[in-house]
Each structure stands twice: as C-alpha cells, then as structure tokens.
C-alpha cells in the first residue's frame, strides 16, 4: 500500500524545515533506517531517515523548498503501484483548501453544528465569513481534499506545493495584491465568523458534516479543537498565536490571550510573511456543493499570489532591494538574540591582557609538537576562559526567573560565523580537557558545522560562551548574551602597542577582552573578578596546564 510520507519532527522546536538535499531518488528502494534526505531545521541540518520500506514512487518537494512539519514530502509504496489517488490527496490539501476558501461565505446555518445535511450554497460573496483557523493532521488533509472535489486548483503550482501551503481566506484574497506582511491586524480581526458552532441551537438531524467548520492544511499548525472553534468565535488568526501547550500546541488560553492582547508581535508576523510560507487560513463552511471550476480558478490565483516565496510571490515590488526568506537558522538567531538583548539587562567589563607570555607559551608548545599539530591562540584562550570559570564559578550561571542557576560543569559555547549564520558548538567539560583536545574538538565541530553535519545536541547546553573576532582584525567588541547563560566573553585581536614598562615605553602585545554579563545574575564586581582571574591565567600561561 502506497502512503504519503510527511516531514517528521527532527528537532524539538522544529516547525518547518528546508529540504536541503534528496539523498534518494524517485524509484529508489529504501529500507527502514535509510537516509532519505537532509533537512535544515531551526537548529541544524538533520538526517531524515525513513522508518518504512518500499520504493520512493514520487518526491513531492524540490531541494531548497521549505516544508512545514507533517506536510507530504514523498510517496512510498510498491513498484508500479498506482498513486494517482495519493497524489491528489497530497495536493488536494492545497487545492481543496484553496477552494473552500475562495468561496467561503457561510450562512450562519451552514456553520451550525451538525448542519451537515444542508450545506451552505456558495453564494459568491467571497468577502464574508473570514475564519482564521487551521486544522492539523492527516484527517484534516483528507477532509480538505474531500471538500475540494474539483481538480487541483489550476495554476496554483499545486505539484510543488505539496506541503499544501496555504490558500488565503477569502477576505484576504481580495487584498491579495498586497504583500502579506502588510496585512494589518485590524483587518484580520474585523471579520469574525458569523456564528460559533456550539452556539447554534438548531437541532441537527445527524452528526455528519460538523467537523467541517475548520477545513485545513495538513500538518501545519497544532491547535486543540477548542482553540480552533474559539479562534473562529473570537476572530483570532491562529497563525499569529504562539502555542503554550505541549509541543507548542495552541490551546484555549493562547487564543484568549491573543484575543485580549491586541495585535500580534510584529516580528513574528514579518518573519512569517517574509519566509513566504504564510499559509493562509483554512476555513469554514461546507464547500462541497458549490461549483468547483469557478472557484478553482480564483483560488488558484490567490494561492499563487500570496503563498509562494521569491519573485513570484512579490511581483510588484520594485528592484530596489531583494527580500530573502529567512533560513530556519537565521530565524532562530533573530529570535534568540532579540530576546537576549531585550530581556537580559547586559553590562560589559573590558580589560586588556599582556599577550606576550601567551604567545611565547604557544611558540614553545608548537615547537614541542613539531609536526604533530598546532595549538592556536584561540585554543589557549578557550582553555583559559574555562579555567577562569573554575576560579569564579558564579559566572557560570543563568538567571532562571525565580532562581539563579549555578552550573557545576563548564560547557563552553564557541561562537562560529558560518555562511548560513551564527552557530555556537559546545565544548563539554572544557575545564577538564587539555588544550589539544579542546583545539581538536573545536576544529571538528566547526568543520562539521560548515558541512551542516553538526548534531542538534552539539550546539545546545552552553553554560558560558566565547566569541573571538580577533581573526577579523577587530580590536574590541561586546557580544550579546547567548541565553540562558549569564556571561559571554568577546575577544579582540592581538595588537602591538606602545606600553609602559617600568619607566620606559616599550612595544607590547595586548588582547582586549570584554565580558558581557546578565546583571540579574552577575554583578559588576563579579564580572571584573572573572576578567582579573582570566588575565592572571593568560599572563602566566603555565596555569593552563594545571
């Protein structure tokens, strides 16, 4: 039996992924555990392994496509199997929804619970009954496709759009010319559903057809049934709501909060719009009886206009700039650093160290090593930073709201600039490791990060972070904290400077070190003490061996 393979959750916070590379081709036979594709998540590139066996009959997304969690990516089955029905299903989510929407014009009765026997006729009043709610999961996919019995929306490049990306609510389709990011929140809110399902007292004849209140896209958005019906009732756009339930599921309190809290956060809104993946609302009202063709066309157009990223989606923008969709990594960076800068009150302490002894020490080490490898200044600085934390363990901390957490282990995050963005691989127990080991680990992690083969757990759990821009010629800078850790150390380049030695001026070597601290957990004197201990270690580099 052929089946649709959805995009699995490859990292705990993943909501979508970019299919970076298909490792298997159409027609390839796969066994359980086989690596099928590489997917870039918000954290790292992850392997996508299949748990079933069969032949990959159809790949539904192209390399480089952004795919929502659970959305169809491939069809797996036996050789030669007829998959036309499945193909339709995979695409139908999009097509069907698109249609349901374009015509969404529920009469109140049609929405009444169990009004299924008398579905609303489409009356071609597309601007009413905008309902912002989505369903998740396979069943809704099935439903959506059932709703859209017509051919897949034409022109809606439904083939590629196999994640059933979205079709806009009718009201929005009317304004589909505008770029999605401009949709104003009030407009979004203005049209509430004519009636909430449970409110209607009309006695239903049977129970069929009720769940159609929210038709939707598969695997997009986790929300409880109650949250969905409330969203309809309160006119809340579920896509703008952050879920607080297990697994980020949107629950009642989130919808109520959103309804009370006014406009959603701009960041969120824009991020989503820019990513071009702003799947529009699925919505209401027994679509099946309406005329499919007319609708198919209309929805096809709107879906195309709003949904697809890149030049197609934003045709009327001038060429003065180019909007690039955020990669999941970039989005995570944006979110975390905004949070850090906004929510963690930073201060910085700066000091210079005499780098002379350190350079001598390094020279001696490298002479000793000969051909067996090299120790970099960075390796020594990392080891020093870790050892200094042993002397001032209060800086190895995180502010947790009600408590301050003091870490007993030193897990050093090392900020690395990569093509796809900033990553901080973590050297675990760095204070216990030798300089050589630290160096080797950093190089291995950086290397794998560049090749996008780093594992999620290798970039999590830093208790203290070091960011070194010395190699870029920076004299000195200060870094934004890497939450939740309370401190981050910013290292500048080694400078030759005139320095006062005794009563004369000499040429000395200096490195500027700047420690950014979360003042809620670490006070100024403490930060200063850390820098002082670090200076002591680095200026007497034999300490690094201890």
């Amino acid at each position: 039996m052929a089946q649709i393979i959805g995009l699995p959750k490859l990292s705990p916070t993943m909501e979508e992924g970019v299919l970076v590379k298909w490792v298997k081709k159409e027609g390839d036979r796969v066994s359980p555990g086989d690596l099928v594709a590489e997917v870039e998540t918000d954290k790292a590139n992850m392997d996508f392994n299949l748990e079933d066996e069969g032949v990959l009959l159809k790949l539904l997304v192209k390399e480089g496509d952004t795919v929502k969690l659970g959305a169809p990516v491939a069809i797996l089955g036996d050789e030669g199997e007829d998959i036309s029905a499945l193909l339709k299903e995979a695409q139908g989510g999009g097509g069907g929804t698109a249609k349901g929407k374009a015509e969404a014009k529920p009469e109140p009765k049609a929405e009444a619970r169990a009004g299924g026997k008398a579905p609303a006729k489409a009356e071609g009043k597309p601007a009413e009954g905008k309902v912002s709610a989505k369903a998740e999961g396979k069943s809704s996919a099935g439903k959506a496709s059932a709703g859209g019995k017509a051919e897949p929306a034409e022109g809606a490049d439904a083939d590629e759009d196999a994640d059933a990306d979205a079709a806009p609510a009718s009201e929005e389709s009317a304004e589909a010319d505008k770029p999605p990011a401009r949709r104003s929140a009030p407009a979004r809110r203005s049209a509430t559903a004519p009636s909430a399902p449970a409110r209607d007292d009309s006695r239903p004849k049977n129970g069929g057809g009720r769940a159609r209140v929210v038709a939707g896209k598969p695997g997009r958005l986790l929300a409880s049934p109650l949250a969905k019906s409330l969203a309809i009732e309160l006119g809340v756009d579920l896509r703008q709501v952050k879920g607080s339930g297990p697994g980020g599921r949107i629950v009642e309190r989130d919808v109520r909060g959103a309804a009370e809290g006014g406009a959603p956060e701009d960041e969120h809104d824009e991020a989503e719009a820019e990513a071009g993946s702003s799947g529009q609302d699925a919505d209401a009202a027994a679509p099946e009886e309406a005329e499919p063709e007319a609708r198919g066309q209309e929805s096809g157009r709107t879906a195309l206009a709003v949904v697809r990223p890149g030049p197609v989606a934003l045709p009327d923008l001038s060429d003065e700039f180019e909007d690039r969709p955020l990669s999941p990594t970039r989005r995570t960076i944006a979110q975390r650093l905004t949070q850090a800068k906004r929510d963690m009150p930073h201060f910085r302490v700066t000091g210079a160290i005499d780098a002379g002894p350190l350079m001598d020490f390094r020279l001696r080490l490298n002479q000793l090593l000969g051909d067996r490898g090299k120790v970099s200044v960075n390796d020594l600085l990392l080891k020093g930073a870790a050892l200094a934390l042993r002397r001032v363990p209060e800086c190895n901390a995180a502010f947790m709201g009600e408590t301050i957490r003091y870490y007993s282990r030193v897990h050093l995050g090392v900020a690395v600039a990569l093509e796809q963005g900033l990553l901080t691989p973590v050297i675990r127990n760095a204070d216990l490791k030798g300089i050589g080991v630290i160096g080797a680990e950093v190089r291995d992690l950086v290397d794998r990060a560049k090749r996008r083969q780093i594992k999620a757990h290798e970039i999590q759990g830093a208790t203290f972070t070091v960011s070194n821009l010395g190699m870029f010629g920076v004299d000195q800078f200060d870094a934004i904290l890497n939450p939740p850790a309370a401190c981050i150390l910013a290292i500048g380049r080694i400078q030759k400077l005139p320095v006062v030695e005794g009563e004369r001026i000499a040429i000395g070597e200096r490195i500027n070190l700047t420690l950014s601290c979360d003042h809620r957990a670490v006070d100024g004197a403490l930060g200063a003490r850390y820098l002082d201990e670090l200076r002591d270690i680095l200026e007497r580099p034999e300490s690094l061996a201890l």
Binding site: R113, A114, A196, P197, A198, R199, R203, P204, G207, R210, A211, V213, S224, P225, L226, A227, S229, L230, E233, G245, P246, R249, V251, E252, E402, T403, R405, S408
Partner: protein, 470 residues
Amino acid sequence: MSEAGADSFDLVVIGSGPGGYVAAIRAAQLGLTVACVERESLGGICLNWGCIPTKALLRSAEVLDLTRRAREFGVVAENVSYDFGAMVERSRGVATKISRGVAFLFKKNKITHIAGTARLGGAGLVHVDGEGGARTLRAKSIILATGARARSLPGIELDGERVIAYREAMTLPRRPESMIIVGAGAIGVEFASFYRSLDTQVTLVEFLPRLVPNEDVDVSTELARAFRKRGITFHVGAKLSRADIVDGKVKAIVEPAKGGGALTEIVADVLLMAVGITGNVENLGLEQVGIATRRGFIQVDEQFGTGVKDVYAIGDVVGRQALAHVASAEGVYVAELIAGHDPHPVPYDSVPACTYCHPEIASVGLTEEKAREAGIEIKVGKFPFGPLGKTIAAGEYPGFAKFIWDAANGALVGAHLIGPAVTDLIASPTLAKTTEVNAESFIHTIHAHPTFAEALKEAAEDAYGQAIHI
C-alpha cells in the same frame, strides 16, 4: 569513590510514594544522581497501604459477588463461601509484589535507596537515621514527598483496634460483624463496599448532606440508591459526637451535623475513621530550616518551592489534591525543573478522581453544581449504562455517564461516571479535557460497539439532543 562522594547527590528525595519514587526516576532519567530515603516499604502508602492493596481486597469482593450470582450466568457454584484471612493475605502479597517493582525500577535507574528516617539539616544536608546508624547526605536539591496519614476527629483517639484507620481496616485479624465508617469520601465508601460484600453490617456517617460529597449530586444519588439496595446503612448530614468502647464494642453517638436533633446510638465491632488526612510534616526539621506549614501541610509556591532554596515539596504532604497520580505529576514536574527543563504545569483542572466501590465512580472537571456556581453556561447530557448491549450481556449494572459542556464553545467542563469499569473509562474524558477536545470532536469520535464506552458518546451527544439510543 570517596566516602564523601558516596553520600553526595544531585537530588535527594524523601519518601518513596507515587510522588517521591516517580520524581526520583524522572530525575535519574534526566541524568541526575539521585537518592531516595524511605522509612518504611518502597512505594509509600499508595502501594503498601492505599490504592493497591484495597484494590486487591475489592477484587476479592467482586469475585465473591459474581460467584454468588453464578447461576444467573449458567455457572454452577455450590456452597460459595470465603476466607477473610486469605483475602487479606492476597492483598498483602499484591502490595509486596508492587513494592518490589519499585525496587527494581530504582536499581534500573541507578537510584540509591536509603532505608531510614530523614531530617533536613543545614543547606543541602539531609540526615538519615537508619538501621546502619546515622549518616548525612549532601544534596544539591531536595524533594520532600513524605505523604500524609489518616487524621481523626477531635476528642476521638485512634486506638488501632476498635477505632481504626484505613491501615488497620485492611489487615483486620478477623472479619467484623459490624462496622461504623465515619466519612463517606473515597476511602469510606470503598471499605463500606468491601465489607458489605462480606456481609458485615456497615453504617456510614457523613457530615455533609450526601455520600461522596465531592462528586456530582447525581452520582451521590445513584450511589445512595445502589448502597441502599446492597443493605448499607448511612447517615448523611450527620456527625459523630462520641465513640466509646463498651464491652469490647464501639458505641457511637451520631447527631445531625447542624446539631440540635435527636441522637442516634450505633454499636459496632469497629469504627473506621475516614474523615481525611494530615501531612507527614513532623520530625523533618522543617522548623529548623524555616519551611512553613499550614494545617498540617507544607506551603509551596507555584513551582513547589518551599521558600528554602533548592528544597521542594510535592504530593499529599502539600495537600493540593491528595491523589497518587497528582503526586506523580508533581514529581515529574519538579524533577524536570531541577534538571533544567521547562516543564508544563500540572493541569489541576483536569485531574481524574476514581473511587472503587461497587458501583465504581470516576470523574474529571467540575460538577454541574460547581459549574453553575462558576457562572458557566452549560449543556448537560446523561446516558445510563443500563440499555447498552455490553451491559446487558454483562448482567445489569446500574449507573450512568454525565457530560457537562460549556454552552458557549463546546469545551468539556466536567464528566461524571458511575457504573461498570468507569475508573478506566474516565481516561478518555480526561484526555478530552486536558487536550481541549470539544463536544463536536468528541461526538465525532467513533466509540467501539459493544463497549461500556458507548455511554460516553451517547451522554456527550445527549447534551446536544443527539443521543441515538435514548
């Protein structure tokens, strides 16, 4: 490992009941080094003196009841009788077996089990008095999960022989001919149900105006009907004013709860006190380290912090909802918190409560009365188990399922079940409530036929006038 190292832990849990042992295991799973101190058998009251052994006794009663009805089912069982001692022995065996299960889980998760009585020392210290003498543990975090015990009424002392609590009630040397049970909550009605099956003359005394007063009124009414039919006597809205031992028997004086009415004298072999619990807060060193108690329970904040850094308290000793599964949920929450995770809060409004009398009772959420008090506009549906094919085949059970939905949005406000297998059936309404499955989705869910669970769907539908079989 050095001597000091051997006694140093990331987490020390005091008490190994369903709160403590679960917290210990979860913490160990998350990579912490954990010790659990227990002064009695592993598993606490639940496994040794509560949930589990009573269920073993009630099962014996159920088998006896059924066997007595054997002929109805075409089964011939002559001269049916029972052996009370063997029932108690089986119940103890069940408890021992489960307790060993906990020991196994501790070993599997590399949790150090320390037998002894614990007392908080200074910062991060726990003193343990055990068989092997005294020792002191160092702990980065401490969870107090010491549980609770039965309390009595003022002026009435539990002597453990004639005036007893649940613990003695499940290990009586011989079956009492007659028994007074004070308190018709879960513990009271379970023992009433058990002893009545053994033909003991049972009299329940409840201060509030109905049996199982925490449950929905309809459930109380249904239970009263079933108990009356079984020959259980009860005085509701009544209080015990004295209990004296006269000629080796208990002579109890019961009067109307409001006072002023006629006194009733009841004489019985034993009096079981089931009026509630009080936390085990004594001799823990709470005062010395500055942990506050109120009415016999430890005061905690939202994250179960006691006010003293890195010391948490969970379960019955906190007394939020004295249920084993609540203690477990709290234990998991705190363990994850200590391990640096960000756990989801315990969903207190969606805690199922089960009572294993015959017929069984189970509920989740608000009663109809409470829902109306809270000003929620509701839709109520009810369906009896009686008409279901499965019930008729199984042989006449009373009871019903009752669903309360929020009229505004179809949210599940409460579900109240009394009847066959309802303590298991409550799982799906609990899931629905916790995960916000609304009426529409619940009704849309196919329930297998023939099952007792069909009553749930029909009751849910009944609220919207859609039940098919009524």
